[in-house]
């Protein structure tokens, strides 16, 4: 797609390394990036974000609130019930995917990711 609308992406990850990689990859691809350091903070950022993000990318394993918790919380918020949420995880095992799916994840990306695959995944849900 060639449309030039700037999309906003909320990334939730407790690893600063991962946050750095996400920010770099997404900003290079022309996205506006906002970030949360764990599930609880991610939800706070989501609630106060103006404009709200067009997609959320969240890690699974996090302190305070994990990725499943994030998805469930997002799906319970009337404004974001239909917001695409992509799960970012190192585990490729189907059980985790199934859990993320059950919680309401739109899709998943498995770490380590390439910028291209990350962008492709976002375009897949926000095109």
């Amino acid at each position: 797609m060639t449309e030039k609308k700037i999309l906003r992406v909320l990334t939730i990850d407790d690893s600063r390394t991962m946050q750095g990689m996400l920010r770099k990859a997404l900003e290079e691809a022309g996205y506006d990036v906002i970030q949360g350091g764990d599930g609880v903070e991610g939800i706070e950022v989501l609630e106060s974000a103006d404009p709200p993000p067009n997609v959320i990318i969240t890690d699974i394993n996090m302190p305070r609130m994990d990725g499943f918790g994030v998805i469930e919380a997002v799906r319970k918020m009337p404004a974001f019930k239909h917001l695409p949420v992509i799960v970012l995880t190192t585990e490729s095992d189907p059980e985790k995917k199934a859990r993320a799916r059950a919680a309401g994840a739109t899709g998943w990306i498995i770490k380590p990711f390439s910028s291209d695959s990350l962008v492709a995944a976002i375009r897949r849900v926000t095109a």
């Binding site: 991962m18 996090m62 770490k111 380590p112 390439s114 910028s115 291209d116 695959s117 492709a120 095109a127």
Partner: protein
């Protein structure tokens, strides 16, 4: 790009340090018998995070080990086994290996592969305790992990945008036998769940359009609205529509399937090659491998070499996908990683290598509140400065008065800013303390002793430079405590103590300084033996009469070792004297207390910062000098009747019955020639104390002020001067010397007590 990656790599290493600390904390909590779910989770997360980051940078050694570690921890997390003493021990060992591997990745020493393999096997052993897969798991982990990691990048290619269209053409050329000219017919009907999950039929349509565009084709879309109810009955969150899309012939079934990867359970869909029925019978049956086999045969791909794009085999075959099919089994079985994925990982590799050569950047993490506080104060400073500026233009008396007030409020503001900056630089001693766990662990396994190190007050904060400089002295002191302090288990049992030795390392703030104590429950210092050794080594004369404390202090003398045999642990050519020097160079003092049979306690008292000190401004013979306030015990006016002359011409003063040497400061520093002032009556004295508690009285002309001074090294700017530790610049711009109280006291004591004079002086120093 690569400098960005370098930055992120630096962040990664910082984060590794933090995660390793977290791991250490969690594991020690577990070894203390705690089994909180959150602790286990935190431990798991730490290793998991390191693995995740390492994988992004292609740090294979680290990934491989972290993966096995993580697997074992997962067993603990899911309750397959309990954190027994032995299990935690294995984890602690693995943590040390992991920390060394991180260091290796950072460009440090290469880790002994045998050690890694050993820990690796132990971890695999643990996680296999529950079942029989143990052996096979241990054997195959090496093979399993690369397979686990390299195919990953292609798993999240919902749309194969990375594939060049060109190879498709090639493949069509080669596989003439296959009639692939038929269009691809895709029909799909989303379930309600697809929308509930934040997805949209539109996304799928766009995905399919993208596929067609890549092949320079277009799609024909038909929407089936037959299920749509009248508007009055329409529910907004129900799915009523279905679509039929015709894709150009060049689009492969696999790539179309990939579009449905995320929605395979939330959408009925079918992908059929138009006219497939006609094509199928013509397919050469024997030579063509089954598509599934092609997938399975794909070799694992090296990450430094991008393979040719590989979706071709499946394109070549007319695949029949069962018509209304809920979930084809293919999504996870794509062939080969995308070239983009592997290219990215090879550049990441390159970045990792270049970054490893760069020196480590010094950085600290600071609580945002502290920065905010500082910012607030700077804001006030700007306002105060503006006020002073406007007041200074006024000439009337009232203005003058206000100006003075403004300046004094600015003074307190400056002080607040200074405190705020200090707070920014302050770091908890935790990082250093936790490193000591490993020191004790390794030392006790080397000496075959069972020793538990307990940490207290890890949150105590000190200046960052100080934190770093504490590592070596503490390491040495703890090794010493393990080696010499704690007895062997047999000796402990014989003495009626538990076989397990105990060392407590604690930190606390005490009156503007930090006090670090190392307390062991060992045998205590054997003063008889210390004394004999000291005599034997010629450190003291055989007839020296020393107090218990002085004997204790002998262990800090250069070249002293009481160990009957020099062990490979403490006997590294570094004596306790080095520790003492290190602590003293930080402006600290060491105290020892030892009870035979009960144990020894070492105390380090250190200033909170090395940059600024609270000083008393005094003058002697016309020069203004600074004495660190922490070493001034009291000030008073001399009464001539309390002063006694000694045969060598020096004086002592009796203060409430305590005799101490009287030091005429100006004379000692050679600022004036008269060795003894004519009358001491009414002159001012300061009672000062050095690190080991020895006191002396300094005679000065007057006390001027109390102020904070910034310490400037005199050795690096000029040269070492007796009695002077550093210099500073005062408010009026003049340079002033900061007195070295220890040296002054030591020289005075040396003068008076002639018996073991050199010893006393050195002990006191």
């Amino acid at each position: 790009m690569s400098s960005d990656m370098d930055d992120i790599l630096q962040i990664f290493f910082q984060e590794c340090d933090e995660q390793l600390q977290e791991l250490e904390r969690g594991l020690s909590a577990l070894s203390d018998g705690e089994s909180e779910h959150e602790t286990v989770n935190a431990v798991f997360r730490a290793v998991h995070s390191i693995k995740g980051g390492a994988a992004s940078f292609g740090l294979d050694n680290l990934v491989r080990f972290a993966h096995v570690f993580e697997n074992s921890l997962d067993g603990l997390r899911s309750g397959r086994f309990a954190p027994t003493h032995d299990v935690v021990k294995v984890f602690l060992k693995a943590m040390d290996v992991l920390s060394d591997l991180v260091n290796e990745a950072r460009g440090g020493a290469t880790v002994d592969s045998a050690r890694v393999a050993e820990s690796h096997a132990e971890l695999a052993d643990i996680s296999g305790t529950g079942g029989n897969q143990n052996a096979s798991q241990a054997a195959t982990t090496e093979d399993v992990i690369p397979a686990d990691f390299s195919p990953v990048p292609m798993d999240f290619e919902p749309v194969p945008t990375d594939f060049e269209p060109v190879p498709f053409d090639f493949d069509f050329g080669e596989e003439e036998a296959t009639p692939a000219a038929a269009s691809l017919l895709v029909t799909f009907r989303p379930h309600d769940a697809l929308y509930e999950r934040g997805d949209d039929a539109r996304n799928i349509l766009i995905g399919l359009t993208d596929l067609a565009r890549e092949c320079d084709g277009e799609i024909q879309t038909t929407c089936d609205r037959s299920a749509l109810p009248p508007l009055t009955d329409l529910l907004p969150d129900k799915s009523y529509l279905s679509w039929q899309v015709v894709l150009p012939p060049a689009v492969s079934e696999d790539s179309a399937n990939a579009v449905f990867d995320w929605v395979s359970e939330d959408c009925d869909f079918s992908i059929v090659r138009e006219g497939a029925e006609a094509a199928a019978p013509q397919e050469p049956p024997a030579e063509q491998p089954e598509p599934a086999e092609v997938v399975a045969v794909m070799p694992p791909v090296e990450d430094h070499e991008a393979p040719p794009p590989a979706p071709a085999p499946s394109v070549a075959h007319p695949i029949q996908i069962l018509s209304p099919l809920p979930a084809p089994a293919t999504p996870d079985a794509h062939p080969g990683p995308s070239p983009a994925g592997s290219a990215a990982s090879s550049t990441a590799n390159g970045a990792a290598q270049t970054a490893a050569r760069k020196p480590e950047q010094a950085s600290i993490r600071v609580d945002l509140h502290r920065i905010d506080d500082l910012m607030d104060l700077v804001g006030e400073l700007v306002i105060a400065q503006a006020a002073i500026e406007s007041l200074s233009r006024r000439t009337d008396a009232a203005g003058q008065h206000e100006l003075v007030q403004s300046i004094s409020s600015m003074q307190s503001l400056t002080r607040d800013i200074q405190d705020a900056v200090m707070a920014v630089r302050a770091q908890p001693v935790r990082a250093v303390f936790q490193r000591m766990q490993r020191v004790v662990r390794e030392a006790s396994s080397m000496t075959h002793k069972d020793i538990v190190l307990t940490l207290e007050g890890e949150d105590t904060e000190v200046d960052r430079t100080l934190v770093e400089k504490l590592t070596d002295p503490l390491t040495h002191m703890l090794r010493n405590a393990v080696d010499h302090g704690i007895e062997s288990p047999e000796a402990r049992i014989a003495a009626g103590k538990p076989a397990e030795g105990h060392i407590v390392l604690s930190a606390e703030h005490r009156s503007g300084r930090i006090l670090i104590t190392i307390k062991d429950d060992g045998a205590g210092i054997n003063r008889q033996r210390v004394f004999e050794t000291a005599v034997k080594r010629g450190v003291i004369p055989a007839d020296a009469v020393l107090s218990d404390e002085e004997i204790n202090n002998l262990i800090f003398m250069p070249g002293f070792s009481t160990a009957a045999q020099v062990s490979n642990l403490s006997g590294r050519g570094v004596g306790m004297d080095v520790v003492k020097q290190a602590i003293q160079s930080l402006g600290g003092r060491i105290s020892i207390s030892s009870v035979p049979g009960k144990g020894t306690t070492f105390g380090f008292s250190l200033p909170l910062t090395l940059a600024i000190l609270d000083g008393m401004l005094i003058s002697a013979s016309g020069s203004t000098m600074v004495i660190p306030i922490s070493s001034v015990i009291e000030t008073m006016i001399v009464n001539q009747s309390d002063v006694y002359a000694l045969p060598d011409g020096s004086n002592v003063i009796s203060i409430r019955g305590d005799c101490m040497p009287l030091i005429p400061l100006a004379t000692v520093l050679k600022l004036s020639n008269s060795s003894t002032p004519d009358s001491l009556d009414a002159s001012v004295i300061l009672v000062v104390e050095n690190e080991s508690g020895a006191r002396a009285a300094l005679i000065v002309d007057e006390i001027r002020d109390q102020t904070q001074v910034v310490i400037k090294s005199i050795e690096s700017n000029y040269r070492q001067i007796f009695g002077v530790s550093a210099a500073t610049i005062l408010g009026d711009g003049s340079v002033s010397l900061i007195l070295d109280v220890s040296a002054l006291v030591a020289s005075a004591i040396g003068h008076i007590d002639i018996k073991p004079s050199n010893i006393r002086a050195e002990l006191a120093a």
